[in-house]
């Protein structure tokens, strides 16, 4: 299928695929002069996020910015062009036993620029933090055609404002990332991954808390239900599943195995299992947001974020809806994906209701996906409150003509 770059039924009139960062900046400046609205495009794997663009004239692909710009493996740092795919990055780094802990869907297509711009993370965020914690600096193109350097290439730097971090999660509304530098991580010498099944959601949640507190801290803890576990371990039996990944020395891994079993059993686990093919297992987990969207394209997919201690309450809120969703969760981080199958009579009311409930738990939701006929009436974002005026001021400074991804971000930015 040829790429159409269509978004919410709108297709761009122009497609730019500049050969390098300099030209990308030139094209952007030209678009700005013509007040032509631009959608930056990496691998297109996350373009479903956000609201429909209010105007969309040109797509600007980062495909050609796909080089390793610098890889200082003995310093554990590297700089990648924004158009490099995560799979390619993984290949390059694994030659030196290193990695970038960004386990997001479709790594063979997802680009580092797109993943940063959307602020996406995966299960490993529990141990390694969100990308902005280990991104050291970047370059981005501004609407007036400059390539701006922000941050640095070394592991510590406080010279200047943290402008590079403000680009993360800004959905390309302040500039277009052209490269980014990271602190890398050595692969743990040994790993072990395990899962346990539970009949009761409350037991599964309690196990999550227990495992999070183990003296061998896990790299990731996930909570899945039967529907989502099907995509990961098709033969697993149970209502809820808690999955954990540990990394460290061999001796630590042996201890982790016992700790996990004890913690799970203490919370009435039905079965405790060690995973053989960890690679495949964690790939399937990382892909789950996309899997849910693609398999259940008529369902409403929301991501719910709450403070960690509210995880049980948030899951209860979700499960108490008349037709409960399929769920999976980066459990200790308290980020939950919920896929509601029911074609609700009024999705606006439904989303508003869900927002209000989650708000009571000091959390928020983002509507990640809805059938295209419904999406236009739904706001993907929460109301961000009083700080919105600062966000508007930032937007005005960096994109006065409002040509970068207009209308797709919070509050219509």
């Amino acid at each position: 299928m040829p790429l159409t770059f269509a978004l919410d039924g709108i297709s761009p009139q122009r497609i730019y695929t500049p050969p390098d960062a300099n030209e990308l900046a030139q094209v952007l400046a030209q678009c700005n002069a013509e007040k032509c609205a631009v959608v930056p495009w990496g691998g297109g794997t996350l373009q479903h996020l956000g609201n429909a663009p209010s105007q969309y004239n040109a797509v600007l692909q980062t495909t050609n910015l796909n080089q390793v710009i610098e890889y200082a493996y003995d310093d554990l740092t590297a700089t990648f062009g924004a158009g490099m795919t995560l799979a390619e990055i993984e290949r390059v780094l694994s030659e030196h036993g290193q990695f970038l802990p960004l386990d997001v869907p479709h790594p063979e297509r997802a680009t580092i620029g797109g993943v940063l711009a959307t602020g996406m993370n995966g299960a490993l965020r529990l141990r390694y933090g969100p990308a902005r914690d280990y991104m050291l600096g970047n370059r981005f193109a501004t609407v007036d055609g400059q390539l701006i350097k922000a941050g640095s290439k070394v592991v510590k730097n406080v010279a200047g404002y943290e402008l590079h971090k403000v680009q993360v999660g800004a959905f390309g509304t302040l500039g277009i990332l052209t490269e980014a530098t990271f602190k890398l991580f050595p692969k743990p010498p040994a790993e072990i991954s395990m899962w346990a099944s539970f009949d009761e959601l409350s037991d599964a949640c309690a196990a999550v808390g227990q495992i999070w507190n183990l003296s061998t801290p896990p790299l990731a803890i996930e909570l899945l239900d039967t529907a989502t576990m099907k995509f990961v371990e098709p033969n697993a039996r149970g209502a809820y599943f808690v999955l954990a990944r540990f990394g460290g020395s061999k001796a630590t891994m042996a201890a982790a195995r016992d700790f996990f079993s004890n913690a799970a059993n203490e919370k009435n686990a039905r079965s405790v299992n060690v995973i053989d093919d960890t690679q495949k297992f964690w790939r399937a987990i990382a892909d789950l947001p996309a899997t849910l969207r693609e398999h259940f394209s008529d369902a409403l997919l929301v991501r719910v974020s709450v403070p960690p201690k509210e995880l049980p309450s948030a899951l209860r809120v979700l499960m108490d809806f008349p037709s409960p969703p399929r769920i999976f969760s980066h459990a200790a981080v308290a980020s939950i994906y919920a896929s509601f199958q029911d074609a609700y009579a009024s999705p606006e009311t439904f989303v508003a209701q869900l927002r209000a409930r989650v708000h009571e738990l000091h959390g928020h939701i983002i509507v990640e996906h809805a059938a295209s006929t419904l999406k236009k009436n739904l706001n993907a974002w929460n109301d961000v409150g009083a700080s919105f005026k600062l966000m508007q001021a930032l937007k005005r400074k960096f994109d006065p003509n409002n040509i970068l991804n207009p209308g797709r971000f919070v509050g219509g930015i």
């Binding site: 003995d74 290439k153 592991v155 966000m391």
Partner: protein, 484 residues
């Protein structure tokens, strides 16, 4: 002789009570300094207790066109609190409450004046800690840490302050009190918390900080390795990291510092050694002894002539003593020191330290090195006597060359101490004008009037101080101190 009380002081006194407004020269003097060699005296110092009061203070300052300079504990090393435009200094001595420790969410909510170490002390009974640990942690404030994005020895493994701050309450320059960020992940909209961290008090006044806390590691092992040459020590550092082992901390002190520490505290380090490395690993008990052994072997392989291993908490404290007392001990060698804070890629440490030696010779200065070596963060302390004519100028020139050296090998001019006034002139080494303009865009979006800590962070012409001062109303007598 009594000075007349200015209208601004009167308004502030009404707001805060006379006790919490300092304006007599004698009272102001102690607020003229930070840990660097810069100084200037504020016109007024206020000691508020709430964000609301701070909001009112800002409104008063604006009415009198006075600058606002927030001040933590004054341990900063870059002149970030030096009030070169005079004005009102906000001190946080009365904002030291730890509001809440939430173990289930692994957060603590603290006021900006809370001392760094007090957070970990309060957490210790719960077996938790707050990871960022500047060497000044017994004195520096969390507000100052956030504003400087401070680091510390254990940031090698745990990351700097920015990685441990989840939310902030801030007072903007228009007096509005805003809450940014929060405990739930993936806060929507632009990452304004990230923008405020490391902003050196130029974007807003931080009045509450939601920090991430962590369970104390089950086990800790500390070793100290003695080397005949600094080159061996620095090769060990990049060797360890390059082999994929990330200890919790790798600190280095050089021969000059060793001798100063020995003279002051006699802790039993060999006087003829050229460097010691202090390495700490922590984590689960299982496997920690193997890790310690592996590191000891590494040190020997790279030429360590002796490796000491702490057998208990007391011995651990003893080993750390060499590092923790280093700056204080330098007073033995010279009355003044000028500390730099460049960062280089770890693999460049041997080269950079050798080049630094050459710079020291060229300017005929002595440098004592204390490094967060694992992060490639250099702290060369250039020793001098301020009474000697031309000494400070010479020292600053040498410091400038060292920073240029750091940038030339792909590093930066400040790893943790900040830009403040000290590094303003060196920002163009790192950034082009367009990069600096983009940073100014960020500042101007949030704090366009520049009333908050003016003339810091971004170079804006050498006349910044005078220009800002000329705006002050006549009712407030300008101080005549010079800043050096």
């Amino acid at each position: 002789m009594k000075e007349p009380i200015s209208p601004a002081v009167q308004e502030l006194q009404k707001l805060l009570g006379a006790r919490n407004v300092l304006w007599q020269p004698d009272d102001l003097r102690v607020y003229s300094y930070d840990g660097s060699n810069n100084m200037a005296t504020p016109d007024i110092v206020v000691l508020p207790e709430t964000a609301k009061q701070i909001s009112s203070i800002i409104k008063i300052a604006r009415r009198y066109s006075m600058a606002i300079v927030p001040r933590g504990s004054g341990t900063g090393l870059c002149g970030a609190i030096t009030p070169i435009a005079g004005g009102i200094m906000i001190a946080f001595a009365r904002m030291k409450k730890i509001h809440n420790i939430d173990l289930e969410n692994r957060t603590a909510l603290v006021e900006p004046g809370v001392i760094n170490l007090d957070v970990s002390t309060a957490l210790a009974p719960h077996k938790y800690f707050y990871a960022p640990d500047p060497s000044s942690q017994a004195a520096c404030s969390i507000g100052g840490n956030v504003a400087n994005n401070s680091g510390g020895p254990h940031c090698l493994l745990y990351g700097v302050t920015a990685n441990h701050v989840l939310g902030l309450e801030v007072v903007l320059e228009d007096g509005e009190i805003l809450w940014l960020g929060g405990t739930a992940p993936d806060e929507q909209g632009y990452d304004l918390v990230a923008a405020f961290i490391g902003s050196e008090g130029t974007l807003g006044i931080i009045t509450k900080i939601l920090v991430r806390i962590m369970p104390l590691p089950e086990a800790t092992r500390t070793l100290l390795a003695v080397f005949n040459t600094i080159e061996q020590a620095s090769r060990t550092v990049s060797g360890v990291i390059g082999a994929g082992v990330i200890p919790a901390a790798i600190e280095m002190i050089d021969g000059t510092t060793i001798r100063a520490v020995e003279a002051a505290y006699n802790i039993g380090l060999p006087l003829d050694a050229d460097a010691v490395l202090l390495i700490e690993v922590d984590g689960p008990k299982a496997g920690i002894d193997e890790l310690q052994e592996m590191l000891a072997d590494f040190c020997v392989e790279f030429g360590a002539r002796e490796v000491r291993i702490a057998k208990n908490e007391q011995e651990r404290a003893d080993l750390w003593k060499a590092r923790k007392t280093a700056l204080g001990a330098l007073g033995r060698l010279a009355p003044n020191y000028y500390i730099q804070d460049g960062v280089v890629p770890r693999s460049k440490l041997p080269y950079v330290l050798a080049q630094q030696d050459a710079i020291a010779k060229k300017y005929n200065v002595t440098i004592a090195n204390v490094l967060h070596a694992g992060d490639g963060n250099l702290h060369p302390n250039i020793l001098f006597d301020a009474r000697e004519e031309g000494a400070y100028e010479r020292v600053k020139k040498a410091g400038g060359e060292i920073l240029k050296l750091c940038v030339d090998v792909g590093g930066t001019i400040s790893g943790e101490h900040g830009v403040g006034l000290e590094k303003l002139d060196y920002m163009p080494l790192l950034f082009q004008q367009s990069d600096l303009d983009a940073q100014a865009n960020l500042r101007d979006a949030i704090a366009p009037t520049r009333i908050l800590n003016p003339c810091k962070m971004l170079p804006q012409g050498s006349k910044c101080g005078e220009a800002a001062r000329s705006k002050l109303p006549q009712a407030i007598a300008g101080n005549t101190e010079v800043w050096i």
